[in-house]
Symmetry: C2
Subunit: 424 residues, 2 copies
């Protein structure tokens, strides 16, 4: 970029920011009914606009193919009838969620008669920075709208036309409900400098949610002056304790690793208590190998099955997002906790055991957003938690931790009702 | 500072950080009883160590006087028997607060039988950067300990000896309860570079709480890579609506401005509805003037009393923290809301009115941490809210908003108990 482009982009972004702030003030006071009407109308517009969305997507796909994008990226970018319908349904599902805004989180009377309440309010303006998946435009826009927040969306340049076509449908929904058009805006330039500007717009954006691969998150972490809801990676662990039921351990470990290997809640490291290294370990490893998983293990694991490759120090640090698992034999629950503290990403960890005391110790001591006893780490998902859709998962400890749903996209204020009280 | 000093300070700070992390892991698992025992023992140590605290304080006071510190600063720095006893009492009061750690904020069963809970956990390590008041050492240390967090305290260099003597008492308390000495640490150098290092220690500090004047907060805001609980200023407004009872308005406005002028919840700007400019305004202004408050007003306010000085644009932006008030006549509740949005600091605002609809509109539309109806803005305080002691007040919208007490010094995790569930 040259200086001129940059200045233009800066002005452009500040204008988006101003518009978003103004829209946020209106949205914060808009009734649930209007927001839900907008979401329903947007869903209808997505269905009615299917052809134009697919045409825009074809344009993006052609450009991506000619640029030689990897197959996995092309798959994320691609829309078809089914995916468009899923997007419309997603909008309708968000409309059905309870509206968090205005909820009284607590209400109490002070001895002096001050009637005090803690009431949920929107955060304000949410910035979403994502990569190739155009459906994030609909999902993230809907979650922000439902929670009364204005959204500034910055999708990947490869999905520019698809996202634009989806945004047009969201805009139809906003118009149908009489809500400000600037409630959901898209950065209208492919200039990469726009992201840098966004990350410094502390006056106009309250939270940034980066969604994408490690390099995107790292850039955002390094540059952002705005608080983030993010996880850099999900190096999730399953620990099979000495008191684990073998059948349960087999079922849960296989699911935790192999159900879907590309999601952040997939187990990347299996820790097995040495007390069951002879009985459980060979079976667990065999299951994984036969399901097509590459197993990299320490000496004890290699001894359990000759197909196990040696594990390297860097494996413990690696989020494979693939059919690969690192396996280590540990000396009991405390050693498992130590390993997780040293190598984990504070995302999601599970213990499999019939020993209630070991489970309680693990659940208490492991410092992760989600800790599970006798269940698969793949449950790390807002939908599975009953929170409805999520805009992401946070490994930060401030404000939102774990799945970030509509409730986590709110703040609160204290509303105090008196009858002339003064402070002594 | 030269490069050598800086490297030493950096190493020193990282060591504090490592120690704090290790202590935080222990504290997170420590029972309430141990934390409370430490607080009680620390209170006893403060009482028993009164002479040595006062001697250390005398040393600080002598140095401060010889440096010609302002009288207000000297008063903040000064300790006497009463203040030492108040500190000991404060420690005991924090011990009596409910322990937030381990509380189940929510618990629910999923259709698949997963028993899920959201459980409060400590944040981890809290950094507190403050100025001359040595009692912050005790208050902040106690609140962090109660909430299971390790604390790294960086007091002003002028209170170095006083804070050290107080820290020694806290350390005695920790030792008596068998808790790690590194649970509460003080930065052991007056090197100003230490603050810069602290603000970049993202690996070792989870939240920074800066407490002090505007220049400290501004520096921290500009430099910190760590999330903050802070308010830059409290430009609080009281709006006297056209439907306000005059007696109530007089009582509340006088208290809101004059009870204590130096606290962040003191009203700095009075907005009066033009409907009562003839009836209420002259009386309110007279009350303030007669209480010794300087009144700076717009043309309408100047017309109400000849002692009113003209107000300048910058007055609306100013947190006086003094017996000065800016007064403006506005055209109804919407104009009041607009003024607050434009000039306010999102801290605390009050409306005085007997009109329920106007009150509801104001409470809903004003985007501040605390909004009050028919009550004094001076109630903006954790103690007054029934939260017990507070470590500060936040005007940020993420995580903590308003008074920051022990509950706001916690995060949470999701604890999921299953019986072998796998995700379909």
């Amino acid at each position: 970029m040259n200086a001129t482009t940059s200045a233009t982009t800066e002005d452009l972004m500040i204008e988006l920011g101003r518009n978003a702030r103004a829209a946020a003030r209106v949205l914060a006071q808009s009734p649930s009914e209007a927001k839900n009407r907008a979401l329903a109308a947007a869903a209808a517009a997505v269905r009615a606009g299917r052809q134009s969305i697919l045409a825009a997507n074809a344009q993006d796909m052609a450009a991506a193919q000619s640029k030689g994008l990897a197959k996995a990226l092309l798959d994320r970018l691609m829309l078809d009838d089914k995916r468009v319908e899923a997007m419309a349904k997603g909008l309708e599902e968000v409309a059905l969620l309870p509206d968090p805004v205005g909820q009284e989180m607590a209400r109490w009377m002070r001895p002096n008669g001050l009637d005090s309440a803690r009431v949920r309010v929107p955060l304000g303006v949410i910035g979403i920075i994502y990569e190739s998946r155009p459906n994030v435009t609909a999902d993230a826009g809907a979650l922000c709208l439902k929670s009364g927040n204005a959204a500034i969306l910055r999708g990947g340049s490869e999905s520019f036309h698809s996202s634009g076509a989806i945004l047009a449908c969201l805009q139809q929904g906003l118009a149908a409900a009489g809500l400000p058009a600037s409630s959901i805006q898209m950065v209208p330039t492919a200039d990469r400098a726009a992201v840098g500007v966004m990350l410094r717009m502390t006056e106009y954006i309250d939270v940034i949610v980066p969604r994408g691969g490690r390099s995107l998150i790292e850039r955002v972490l390094a540059e952002s002056r705005i608080p983030l809801f993010q996880h850099l990676e999900g190096i999730c662990h399953t620990y099979v304790d000495g008191a684990a039921d073998l059948d349960m351990a087999r079922r849960v470990v296989l699911n935790a690793k192999m159900r879907r290997t590309g999601i952040c809640g997939a187990t990347e490291t299996l820790l097995v208590d040495q007390r069951v290294a002879a009985t459980h370990l060979p079976v667990l490893v065999k299951d994984l190998l036969e399901a097509g998983c590459e197993v990299r293990g320490d000496a004890a694991t290699q001894a359990a099955d000759e197909r196990v490759a040696p594990v390297l120090e860097e494996d413990w640090h690696t989020e494979y997002l693939d059919a690969i698992i690192a396996v280590k034999v540990v000396n009991g629950v405390d050693a498992a906790i130590e390993h997780i503290e040293r190598y984990g990403s504070h995302h999601t960890e599970a213990i499999i055991t019939d020993d209630a005391a070991a489970a309680a110790h693990f659940l208490g001591a492991v410092d992760s957003a989600i800790v599970l006893h006798n269940a698969s780490t793949q449950f790390a998902d807002g939908g599975e938690f009953g929170m409805g859709a999520e805009i992401g998962i946070s490994t930060g400890k401030l404000h939102a931790r774990g799945p970030v749903g509509v409730e986590q996209l709110t703040s609160f204020k204290y509303v105090v009702r008196g009858s002339g009280q003064v402070r002594p």
